[in-house]
């Protein structure tokens, strides 16, 4: 049975380019569904019912952030429980745009201007569980976890001003939202521009262990962000 992939991208040229990347990346049979806006993407995914596994779900979803009828992050937030690998494709490489997307549950990101081969490799890595983590985002993550989930304004080196407020103002972080010392160390090295291999050398561990730490950090970010969203929602009487 073919692996179902959803590509949400409004630019048709970019969409077909991404289709080629996806087909190139996997040897399995691929069934690609394309969507040009949030509306049709939601139609393709079908109704989401809490507590029930969707039938024949998409295994991989590529989401563009800038869409004609909204922002891809909205969809990512809705799909937080959806059992697919969700990847943000964007032209923005700065942490101000990427970090909120990661908080919304993205498992990784692809930069659209990268060369075909680079994109293929990156995509394969993400699906294998080796998501990228740029120094700027690592720095942002450090701040996020140090402040107990409050990723307040990032001064100085941030890119575009983010218009999206990040939920904040909670008390002491819970265990699952706190980084282990090793994870903090990995993040610190990443924020200084070290590669995974270099970090493995510096810490005296295997490179895939470093990778596990990175995955775990991603997970904690998603969990803490979801918890934040829940707290925020209950405060506003939505839940």
């Amino acid at each position: 049975m073919a692996v179902k992939v959803l590509i949400l991208e409004d630019n048709p040229v970019a969409r077909s380019f991404l289709c080629r990347v996806v087909r190139e990346s996997f040897s399995d049979a691929i069934a690609i569904t394309e969507a040009g806006d949030l509306e049709s993407a939601r139609r393709q995914i079908g109704p989401l019912v809490a507590g029930r596994e969707p039938l024949d779900p998409f295994k991989l979803i590529l989401v563009d952030l800038e869409l004609p009828d909204g922002n891809g992050m909205e969809l990512l937030a809705e799909l937080s429980k959806y059992p697919a690998t969700k990847i943000v494709t964007t032209l923005y490489s700065d942490d101000d745009h990427l970090f909120p997307a990661l908080q919304c549950g993205a498992d990784g990101y692809l930069l659209k201007e990268d060369r075909f081969e680079v994109l293929v490799e990156e995509l394969q890595k993400i699906v294998r569980g080796q998501p990228p983590l740029s120094p700027a985002i690592a720095r942002r993550l450090l701040t996020h976890f140090r402040q107990g989930g409050d990723s307040g304004p990032m001064p100085l080196n941030s890119g575009f001003q983010s218009s999206r407020p990040v939920p904040s103002g909670r008390g002491a972080p819970l265990d699952h939202e706190r980084l282990t010392p090793r994870e903090s160390e990995v993040l610190t090295y990443l924020s200084k521009g070290f590669t995974i291999k270099e970090i493995a050398n510096l810490m005296g561990i295997k490179w895939f262990t470093v990778n596990d730490h990175i995955k775990s950090i991603y997970k904690k970010l998603n969990v803490s962000s979801r918890a934040e969203a829940a707290v925020l929602a209950s405060k506003q009487g939505l839940v």
């Binding site: 630019n11 040229v13 970019a14 380019f17 800038e66 032209l91 923005y92 490489s93 700065d94 659209k112 201007e113 060369r115 081969e117 680079v118 490799e121 740029s134 120094p135 700027a136 720095r139 100085l156 080196n157 941030s158 890119g159 575009f160 001003q161 924020s191 200084k192 521009g193 070290f194 590669t195």
Partner: protein, 763 residues
């Protein structure tokens, strides 16, 4: 002050600065609130007045008014002959004006004697026309003056008096009570001034009853007494009303000497207690009492000189004591009082000298004695009233005292001219008036500056400072107390500037004007808490008092600073919002099109070219949107970026980064370096077929160095065409104020070196 170890407390002088003479001001702590501290919007001082002090004050005021009323009633009931007399050039008495029909025809005639109740009183000269024995210089003359006044006073209080004129003419005149109207305007004005002076003393005393304020109240009461005496003297025609004759001399001399003693006593206590203050005070009072007693009983030869000299000596010691106090602690109050003292003493000496000089001209002497001395006392009274309000610096009081000083000088000059140069009265008056007006207009500002030390930073310098500080506060909000202290230091040149934790609600002057307390405004971000207060002590190196206007000026300066900062911030925010919007638009519109173009590229070269353009666009927009980049952060991103690109091209990266200061890169530096680095590495990938690229960045002692070495097959860099993007590298390095050079490496490869000296001063 909550923190006993705070600097303001440490440097506070021990107890010396308490409000004495001035008195409205206490002193416990530089910041402690008390009655004397005046906030810029004056606080509701009245509420603290309620209670026994207010009642006592009302009682004192009522007593004063009652006393004056009884005196006026007594004066009004004294019988008199309604006529005025003047001295002739021959030192005889001449009838100047009369309303009585019997005297009317005799105007201009010389008076020879007065007869009443059967006794004949001969008048050989015009001595009796001197209103007070206080200003009769010779001992003999004074005794004669007193005898004449006693007898004339008695004679004139008979129901009828006969005046005998030269040429055998005489007139019988009925005496009549003077009546309130007959007291004259001068009488009422002087009494009013005396009452005001007395009340000021009482207000000061009631505001804070203590020894020093009691001294001030004593001093004002004594001078009020002097003014009342002068008021009584203005009503004298031929002689003082007889109930006042006996006491006049003792009272006047006593008032003068005791006032001087009180001043010396006060000077020993304020602005700081001098060593041996009790001994000084006791000596002063005893000597004053002794001289007064001896002069009253006419048992001291040259009594007049003793009194004048005694006052002069007291004044000189007061000035000396102020100098002494200033050396112990440079309290500006001492300086101001010393200046006041010198001015007062100078006029006193002038008055004494002109009286002594005019002794041969009885007419002139009489003028000086009545007009000159009155002016001097009014001047002194106004100075006294000014003292408690020095730091309030009421413009009107200041001008008033200036005017009083000038008119004293003018009058004395006038009389001196008449006495010494024998000018006619009119000519000398005109001359003196012109001279003193010229002096007044020319020296007014100078004198004001000297008296209160009013020199200020020039306006331009202040504005320049204000805006410079506004910009610095913008960059370092946490330094605003320091920066503001600097501005105020330039403004007032105080001896001490300290920042204390305690917060005051408004700018205020305290401790007699020696201290100015300024709350530090919230200049930083809106939410930043304000940080305590700045305490300035001893303006102009201790030569000047802070006054109410200084507090207002400071409040305005602070407000201007706050506005300038807020304005700068608003402008900066507007600019960054605008830049962010432009960046967003560029990125969204042009970026999307370039992306499409890149996907549709016909050849790999074209695709690579568009990719470069797209990356440049991203660097550009990111530089637009962000203000500053920390060097370490930028280096991390450069490394990650290069690693990714070189890995994709199967080239190894050897990276090193080393800096002794994590500086903030400006947008220009960041984007230029980003693009230089990218360009150099792209060249290594695209043209040299290198397998290894070595990048090293170093910032040492403000010298930035970048090396990019490859092991490719490039050779002879001088011969390279400029199409390789090297022109762009040159241009950007030049823009940063640095230099770039390429050279061949052995055994193979090309090395590029970029050096930027004085990195942080380039923008």
């Amino acid at each position: 002050m909550s923190d006993p170890a705070s600097p303001a407390r440490r440097t506070r002088p021990r107890g010396g600065a308490n409000g004495p003479l001035s008195t409205l001001f206490p002193i416990d702590s530089t910041v402690e609130s008390s009655f004397g501290e005046r906030a810029v919007p004056p606080s509701d001082a009245m509420s603290r007045w309620m209670g026994w002090r207010l009642r006592l004050l009302v009682v004192a005021a009522l007593l004063g008014c009652l006393g004056l009323f009884l005196l006026a009633r007594e004066m009004a009931s004294q019988p008199r002959v309604d006529a005025s007399w003047r001295a002739t050039a021959e030192n005889r008495i001449e009838l100047a004006r009369a309303t009585d029909p019997a005297l009317g025809p005799l105007v201009g005639q010389q008076l020879l004697a007065v007869q009443a109740d059967g006794r004949l009183l001969e008048l050989r000269d015009a001595l009796t026309l001197r209103p007070s024995a206080r200003w009769v210089i010779g001992d003999e003359q004074r005794r004669e003056h007193r005898r004449l006044h006693e007898e004339l006073g008695k004679a004139l209080s008979e129901p009828a008096v006969q005046f005998v004129f030269a040429g055998g003419r005489s007139a019988f005149v009925q005496t009549a009570p003077r009546g309130f109207v007959g007291l004259g305007i001068a009488y009422w004005l002087l009494c009013a001034l005396a009452l005001v002076l007395y009340l000021v003393g009482m207000v000061v005393l009631m505001a804070k009853p203590n020894g020093r304020n009691l001294l001030y109240a004593t001093l004002t009461s004594l001078q009020a007494g002097n003014l009342v005496c002068i008021a009584i003297e203005t009503t004298a025609d031929l002689a003082l009303p007889w109930p006042f004759v006996a006491t006049n001399l003792s009272l006047r001399a006593g008032f003068d000497l005791f006032s001087a003693a009180a001043i010396v006593h006060a000077a020993a206590l304020h602005p700081r207690r001098l060593p041996g203050a009790p001994a000084i005070a006791a000596t002063a009072w005893l000597v004053a009492a002794a001289i007064t007693a001896l002069v009253s009983f006419e048992s001291l030869p040259h009594g007049w000189w003793w009194v004048q000299g005694g006052v002069l000596v007291y004044g000189l010691s007061m000035v000396a004591m102020m100098g002494w106090a200033y050396r112990i602690e440079p309290h500006p109050f001492a300086t101001v009082l010393r200046r006041f003292g010198l001015v007062t003493l100078a006029t006193w000496m002038l008055l004494t000298a002109s009286l002594a000089a005019a002794v041969a001209h009885p007419g002139v002497h009489q003028n000086i004695a009545s007009v000159g001395s009155t002016v001097w006392y009014v001047f002194f009274a106004s100075l006294l009233m000014l003292v408690p309000f020095l730091s309030r610096s009421q413009q009107i009081l200041r001008e008033f005292s200036m005017l009083a000083a000038v008119s004293t000088v003018a009058t004395s000059l006038d009389l001196l001219f008449v006495a010494v140069f024998s000018l006619g009265p009119f000519a000398s008056l005109t001359l003196a008036l012109f001279l003193s007006l010229a002096v007044y207009s020319g020296a007014r500002q100078w004198v004001l500056n000297q008296l209160l030390g009013n020199s200020m930073l020039t306006t331009e310098r202040m504005f320049e400072q204000l805006y410079r500080i506004a910009r610095e506060v913008e960059a370092h909000p946490e330094r605003s107390p320091v920066l503001l202290s600097e501005l105020l230091r330039d403004l007032f040149e105080p001896m001490e500037v300290t920042v204390v934790q305690r917060r005051v609600s408004a700018t205020r002057v305290s401790s007699d004007g020696s201290t100015l307390i300024v709350p530090v405004p919230a200049l930083g971000a809106e939410s930043a808490p304000t940080q305590g207060s700045i305490v300035l002590r001893f303006a102009r190196r201790g030569r000047r008092l802070f006054n109410f206007e200084d507090a207002r000026l400071t409040a305005r300066v602070v407000e201007q600073l706050r506005r300038a900062v807020a304005f700068d911030r608003a402008v900066e925010q507007g600019r960054s919002e605008e830049r962010a919007r432009i960046a967003q638009d560029l990125h969204d519109d042009i970026g999307a099109r370039l992306l499409t173009l890149m996907y549709k590229a016909q050849s790999p070269e074209m695709e690579e070219y568009v990719r470069h353009t797209l990356q440049d666009l991203k660097t550009l927009t990111r530089g637009l949107a962000a203000a500053n980049h920390r060097l370490s952060h930028a280096a991390a991103e450069w490394k990650a970026d290069l690693t990714q690109r070189l890995t994709a091209a199967h080239v190894a990266l050897d990276w090193s980064f080393d800096s002794d200061a994590d500086v903030l890169l400006t947008v220009v530096q960041w984007s230029a370096l980003t693009r230089v680095l990218r360009e150099l590495v792209s060249n290594a990938i695209a043209h040299s077929r290198a397998t290894r690229v070595e990048v090293s960045l170093a910032l040492r002692k403000d010298r930035f160095e970048l090396h990019v070495h490859d092991n490719g097959e490039g050779r002879n860099p001088r011969a390279w065409a400029h199409g390789l993007g090297l022109g762009g590298v040159r241009k950007r390095v030049k823009q940063l104020g640095g230099e770039v050079e390429w050279r061949e490496l052995s055994p193979r490869g090309i090395g590029c070196r970029v050096i930027i000296r004085e990195f942080s001063s380039r923008t």
